[in-house]
Symmetry: none
Amino acid sequence: MGTQGKQRVPRAIREQQMLDAAVATFAKRGYRAASMDEIAVAAGVSKPLVYLYLNSKDELFSACIRREADALKAAIRSAVEPGAAADHQLWSGLLAFFEHTAAHPDGWAILYSQARTVGEPFAEEVAAMRAEIAEFVRVLIAAASADAGCDPALADREVAALAHALVGAAESLAGWGAANPARDAANSGRENAATLMNFAWSGLADLMHGRRWEPSPR
Amino acid sequence: MGTQGKQRVPRAIREQQMLDAAVATFAKRGYRAASMDEIAVAAGVSKPLVYLYLNSKDELFSACIRREADALKAAIRSAVEPGAAADHQLWSGLLAFFEHTAAHPDGWAILYSQARTVGEPFAEEVAAMRAEIAEFVRVLIAAASADAGCDPALADREVAALAHALVGAAESLAGWGAANPARDAANSGRENAATLMNFAWSGLADLMHGRRWEPSPR
Amino acid sequence: MGTQGKQRVPRAIREQQMLDAAVATFAKRGYRAASMDEIAVAAGVSKPLVYLYLNSKDELFSACIRREADALKAAIRSAVEPGAAADHQLWSGLLAFFEHTAAHPDGWAILYSQARTVGEPFAEEVAAMRAEIAEFVRVLIAAASADAGCDPALADREVAALAHALVGAAESLAGWGAANPARDAANSGRENAATLMNFAWSGLADLMHGRRWEPSPR
Amino acid sequence: MGTQGKQRVPRAIREQQMLDAAVATFAKRGYRAASMDEIAVAAGVSKPLVYLYLNSKDELFSACIRREADALKAAIRSAVEPGAAADHQLWSGLLAFFEHTAAHPDGWAILYSQARTVGEPFAEEVAAMRAEIAEFVRVLIAAASADAGCDPALADREVAALAHALVGAAESLAGWGAANPARDAANSGRENAATLMNFAWSGLADLMHGRRWEPSPR
DNA sequence: GATGAATGAGGATTCATTCAT
DNA sequence: AATGAATGAATCCTCATTCAT
């Protein structure tokens, strides 16, 4: 016996192993700097097998993005209770976001840092995911805004901008949290979510009630 | 006579031309995909001259980052009035940030997207710049917080987190603004700054006064 | 039940299917550019089976050449009536040649275009076939020449050269006929054979009777 | 001093050296089997330089074909005296053809054997050259046919077929001559030309005068 | 100050071929 | 009789970098 030698492993499993290795490698090195050689070694297979199953570096990266984006979206989606109050939904979504990204830093690195810089086909895939998330937030804000029956209704454009600002804040916080871990690491997702929620929700509430900060109070 | 032929140009100017070309190329293609050939052509000089002046691809990129980071920091610094009220300082800083990044999209792309993904030496340079900006914001928040004599003083860690959230929100908004320009493009920096200021400042005010959103209001 | 699934097919038949697929693929792509993968797919079997039956790409190609060369030689041989007059034999041979090559363009492409370019082992196999055909023609010419009791007997070397010229003319005509089909496609073999026979036979007759074209009639 | 070390050679000359090496290598191995490595070594330069000057294997091969085809056409063209009698023109053309191909066997191998088998872009370039030569022959035959005021004028299609047959005969003879050199090698071009001219011209003359060989003289 | 000529090193991709079942 | 799984060895091509002028 002995596990060494050519392991015969079914394709579906091998593909996942390859994707795991690829995600880790792309996250560490970046798309261009990662070599197929390195990925194959990390996956414990020969390069031709990677090509046989995943066709090309482009398609491999694409598959990574799709897998990680789907996982992130699924994590958020399954955490949010559709019927709940807007603030509660936002809270659950943020929490899920922070916890998932903290648990899958490589996947997050690919989506956040790498995919945007590589160029057209990939950037678009990630932009689509981001847009989906921002849209989800936008709807929540709009709903809350309607609930509040706020007087000078928020302009559509401003709501969209806020949604994007919020997503950016969350992304930045996720990155910062990863680089500067809290003492209580396990709880850091909750902590980030709370910080952001506190920060954002009351800001939003004020906006909805027409309380605005004025540029030159002199 | 004749403009064609090898132009004799003083070194200082040639270096700036090269940096211009390099920034544009790195922004469009990314660090790895940009080739020294392409940069030399874009700069209108031969490759050996690029090496003579800037030594290597790494140093060239490094010089780009430094130049663009310095320019951004200078823009913010010169916009902020040291003695002014915290909210006014924040407003001026945000405004300068949005206007500078909108005016120099390639420089911004390098700092925001490219430099982080390349790896150690560069990521650190950018991280340092980001930290500097976040620190500036942090100090403002802390000052405002002190001014407000807020009761349950904000924890240092929370203030830092907020600063990073704010920077991330600004960055995201800058990117979104670039991709979805307002009708009145010239004014988009001001608009973004206002959106973010409205959003953030009242959120901060609430936090400082101990008004918090509670996770499970049931 | 069910036609799908692994067909159990006797070896002899499978081998012919593989050769069919290989001939078509080699003809379309050339020896080097044709991949064993493509051939296996075209044959409707898995690659290991191709190797099991035909051992290697080289042997597979070799088998193709042999099969096609044998078929062509057999077609010519069976068309020619041994005892007949020399001109009649030549006519029948040409006719058979044009008809067979028109009916089996892939086989002809392998013999004519591909095999010669690949290098030693194969080129020789085809050269041998060509030599066999040229020899057949040479004997006919020599016989006719003897019949005619021609005075300044044709030199051996000249007869051999003529035979090769004739074979080349036939090959070229076959290629041209394939590329520029006559209106009456079915009859194109006969037409080509007639053109060449007209052209060649009277030229030969003149030669045999010592009527020669003189280089510088001034 | 010493010639070793990186020779600095002007581009125009290096390109010719590379083409020489490429023609020799493609002729020996075939397009696919020839490796850029081998060509670079044969040219005495590094691979990147070959790419710098000639861009890709395809373009390199293309350049080889063009150079060799142009040389062959030029040799024939400059040998033929435009105003001369048709038979004399044909004779001069054939002679030039045989002498040029004998003197440049590698070039001839590329045009005759290799280029046709590689596929579309190249095959067409060679087909164009062949068509040009065949057309030249066709015009001569047509002219001779008109001169002879031949009664049942030769059909256009038949003239074209004859031209192609003649070209094929010449090609085949060139190949045979190369493989079976005459005792007097220097004279072998002249010999081949004479053989073919004898063979073809009287055959043509008979055709033009309506003397045909009839398929079934029983 | 400026460049044409040149290369070592490495990366994506493909292919003929084998093994275990 | 037949195949899914796997790989060693090339091959094309690109790029950062240097030298000689």
